[in-house]
């Protein structure tokens, strides 16, 4: 990009989602960058339009109407700005048309295979399958799977540098035999990124060099205890632009409009989550729940992980959530009785008409109940995937005798978690922030003291890509307009009987002391703005908070306030009934009273 950052005063950013294209306008006002307007329109990557720019133009037209700024002329973006016309910078992310779909290969499935998966997921891809020498499938089954899945590209890893070559070469032979056609466009060679044993490069080239578009990068696992994901991730981004985006309908045109390469939406959200963890020096779990997929991100001990639950989403994949969790788990979050057949038909109708929105309160409650389950299931998958490197020989000393951490253990430690950040239509567009708060707490079940935040209007993807171009603008908008601090959730560890005392609390809010007792089975909400609140918690009946029986210190309030969750950790739903669900809802001001 050849633009002077100082001259950039008006920024247009779009995110072409699988369902909706979102456009935001950022302007430099009173010496700071602020979000000023937002527009959206259905994504048009699919028939009958088959041109992503139609949806982009429609979203921008909505922005023009709301802002009074003329941005388009003859379906082109006016740049640079001149008074109230045009913008200085245009950037975009995309997950439309199925996003980036990859297969990865590794010699040992839970070692190099998982490293390759981490690299692909971190770059914003959906991983369709992992082929590995030890995946239990026969040679021809692997060949058939590759032919059938038709990935956009394949990342092949395997072997430490200087180690055995034969297994990774065998995987290359599997790919050569399958000779897969890429998903989009029959007329070009499928991109293969080789990130394995460097000694095997010539052998790999001999097998795949002619028939595929082979790219060689540094080994993803040069030694057993080292994971080197960046070269593979960067190459995936390059190839995503060159091959996948260039083949998707209308993207060639869109690419000529943007001032920075288009990046996959999940990659952009991951950048933002990493920045929150880095800037505040905290552990963060982030989630972006979309129509087709739910992405979960975490940063614990500075280690970033991303998973994509390709089968859990709020529209295209909504029936997968139903199939996976079962109707009982969805209806348990609804306080009224609902006919099961009617409920399944409603959910299925959302799948086939993904852009519809709830018009009645009952429909909204059902949709948010499904969201809880989609989030819960996605987080389970994330915890299983976000683990320490497997296969690493650990040196133990006498002081480690009681520390039984093993290689391959989950990095997600709920007790160490400082913040949960939610994004995605169902969270960002929930009519009440209390609803987003409850969905996140119910699905992630934070333990101890955890801040909860939500993306205000679902713009983290755009800010993610903006942070690569103009970090100052991205940070200012993120802090002032994007991240809504909902409050802090206090969830003591322990279980007991309904109405048992869990803790005595006291908060100093605006020079007033608010005191009370939290009982087992209830949720209490204490209003407190986003300022530090002097807090005292005295635990009862063997409950603990952060491993202790009392807490004295400062916590943050937020737009909703401090939520005291007395439902027990671990949380056992079988203790509760429809009345409990109704009471939680009333206590947290979740829905308008009928």
């Amino acid at each position: 990009m050849n633009k002077n950052l100082k001259d950039i005063k008006v920024i247009l950013a779009t995110d072409c989602g699988s369902t909706t294209t979102k456009a935001i306008l950022i302007e430099f006002i009173n010496n700071e960058y602020r979000l000023t307007f937002r527009g959206e329109a259905p994504t048009t990557v699919e028939a009958p339009f088959e041109d992503v720019t139609c949806g982009v133009i429609n979203a921008i037209i909505e922005l023009e109407e709301l802002s009074g700024r003329k941005i388009l002329i003859d379906d082109r973006i006016i740049s640079p700005r001149n008074g109230n016309t045009g913008v200085d910078l245009y950037i975009s992310t995309s997950s439309a048309g199925g996003g980036l779909q990859m297969m990865v290969g590794g010699v040992v499935k839970n070692m190099t295979g998982e490293s390759a998966q981490r690299a692909a997921l971190g770059a914003g891809s959906i991983v369709m399958d992992i082929i590995a020498s030890n995946d239990g499938r026969k040679y021809h089954e692997k060949v058939q799977k590759i032919r059938q899945l038709r990935p956009d590209m394949i990342l092949l890893s395997g072997g430490v540098d200087g180690g055995t070559k034969s297994h990774v070469v065998e995987l290359a032979e599997v790919i050569k035999t399958a000779n897969p056609n890429p998903r989009l466009g029959n007329n070009f060679k499928i991109p293969i990124i080789y990130a394995g044993n460097k000694d095997a490069i010539n052998d790999i080239d001999k097998r795949l060099g002619d028939t595929t578009d082979l790219k060689i990068v540094d080994n993803i696992r040069p030694t057993l205890d080292k994971e080197n994901l960046k070269p593979s991730r960067d190459k995936i981004h390059d190839l995503f632009m060159e091959h996948v985006m260039a083949q998707a309908p209308g993207y060639n045109k869109l690419l000529t409009w943007t001032d920075h390469p288009i990046i996959p939406t999940p990659g952009a959200v991951g950048e933002i989550i990493k920045k929150i963890a880095e800037n505040e020096n905290i552990s963060v779990v982030g989630v972006d729940i979309g129509g087709a997929t739910t992405d979960v991100f975490s940063v614990f001990n500075k280690k970033f992980n991303r998973t994509v639950s390709a089968n859990y989403g709020m529209s295209y994949s909504i029936c997968n959530v139903l199939a996976e969790t079962g109707i009982e788990n969805i209806s348990r979050w609804v306080s009224s009785e609902i006919d099961e057949k009617d409920l399944t038909n409603r959910i299925a109708n959302k799948m086939i008409r993904p852009t519809t929105i709830p018009q009645t309160l009952e429909e909204l409650i059902i949709e948010q109940s499904i969201a809880r389950e989609a989030l819960r299931l996605s987080f389970i998958q994330h915890k299983e995937f976000a683990v320490s490197l497997k296969g690493v020989q650990q040196e133990r000393t006498i002081s480690d005798t009681f520390d039984q951490t093993m290689s391959g253990e989950t990095l997600v430690n709920m007790n160490e978690l400082n913040m949960i950040v939610g994004s995605g239509g169902v969270l960002s567009h929930a009519p009440r922030r209390e609803q987003a708060y409850r969905m996140l707490v119910d699905a992630f079940l934070p333990e101890g003291i955890t801040q909860i935040a939500v993306d205000s209007i679902f713009m983290m993807p755009q800010l993610g890509v903006l942070s690569e171009v103009h970090e100052k603008a991205a940070v200012e908008v993120f802090n002032k307009d994007c991240l809504v601090r909902l409050g802090t959730c206090i969830a003591p560890i322990g279980t007991g009987n309904i109405d048992d005392d869990i803790l005595e609390f006291s908060f100093e809010i605006k020079d007033k002391e608010i005191k009370g007792v939290l009982k087992f089975g209830e949720i209490l909400l204490v209003e407190a703005d986003y300022t530090q609140v002097k807090t005292k918690l005295i635990m009862k009946n063997n409950y603990t908070i952060n491993g202790l029986n009392k807490f004295e210190g400062k916590i943050f309030g937020g737009e909703v306030g401090i939520m005291l969750d007395g439902r027990g950790r671990s949380f056992d739903f079988s203790v509760y009934n429809k009345d409990s669900v109704k009471n939680w809802s009333i206590q947290t001001n979740e829905y308008p009273l009928k």
């Binding site: 088959e50 034969s166 109708n349 018009q359």
Partner: protein
Amino acid sequence: MSKSYTPGLKILENASIKKKRILPLAGELHVEKDDLVKSNQIVASAKIPGNVQMINISNELNIDPNQLVDCMLCKVDQEVKKGEVIARSKGLFGFFRSEVKSPMDGILINMSDITGQIIISEKPIPIEVDAYIDGKVQEIYKKEGVLISAYGVLIQGIIGVGGEKKGKLKIIENISDLDKIDSNSDIVAVIKSFLDYELYKKINKLGLKGIICGGIDYESLTKILGYPLGVAITGSEDVTTVVVTEGFGNISMSDRTFQLLEKYKNSYCSINGATQIRAGVMRPEVIINLDFNEKNINDNKDESLILVGSKVRIIRDPFFGLIGNVSALPPELVKMKTETMVRAAEVTLEDGTKKIIPRANLEVILSD
């Protein structure tokens, strides 16, 4: 003014229909540009690579992988027969030789001096693509397929299962109508109302080609498929093809759709249950070939815009399935009972009542 596009379904009597008939991999075309083709006519064919089998010769002969080439008795791309000796070790002074026989008929496609393995592929499997509809070859895609253009009735459903089928349209008013149909007839049954699992089973047992219906329960669909449908990507199921025009639940087919199907009862039609709601929307369809009449063609893409006067179907509760005309498009956001602020439309229903509906919950009915 910003435009609201909706996922409109086409219910057209006079449509210009174009169908790409593409091979899954490069192959051979059997027609030329401007040829007139029949729906059953093969327009392209290809050979899918056969199943493969890997044999570790290095292990079998107890040799190093780099000795493999010297021990092989056949070359890459050479045909081999089941039982044929394909590799032999040098042995000790010519004695104690080991041999490997081919486990199948096929072609040797790879030898690896790194892994010591060879790969034999079965003979390629031929696949053919027919024209699907009567029409004219409008375009040729070299080695890939053709574009067929035709003219006729085009009805898009909302969800379907099962692949391409062809047959005569037959209106089924009562379940007893099925008793008058011979089994395995080339018939596509039209059911105005709701398809339940019992009715499906009866039609399936009768061996009819397909079913077009108004609604279906998710539960019935689960029974038909044998598993719950997780994402709406269908078409390859081995079931009687079903095209659902309205959605899930006890819903009847819209009058317009039913009237059109009734008008062309006994006509030969092509149907396809394949649905793909993501990544290249594909809706299930019913196509009835008619004589070409350019004057009447209705092919206006912009009709999927919601405008005042547009005929729409409400596609979400509490008015799911009702049909009306857009009578106003208020520019300001409207607050729903959910407290959400949305862009809405005022819809005058067929009984004259007016309802405020989120624009996102409307589907334009593309009819002529």
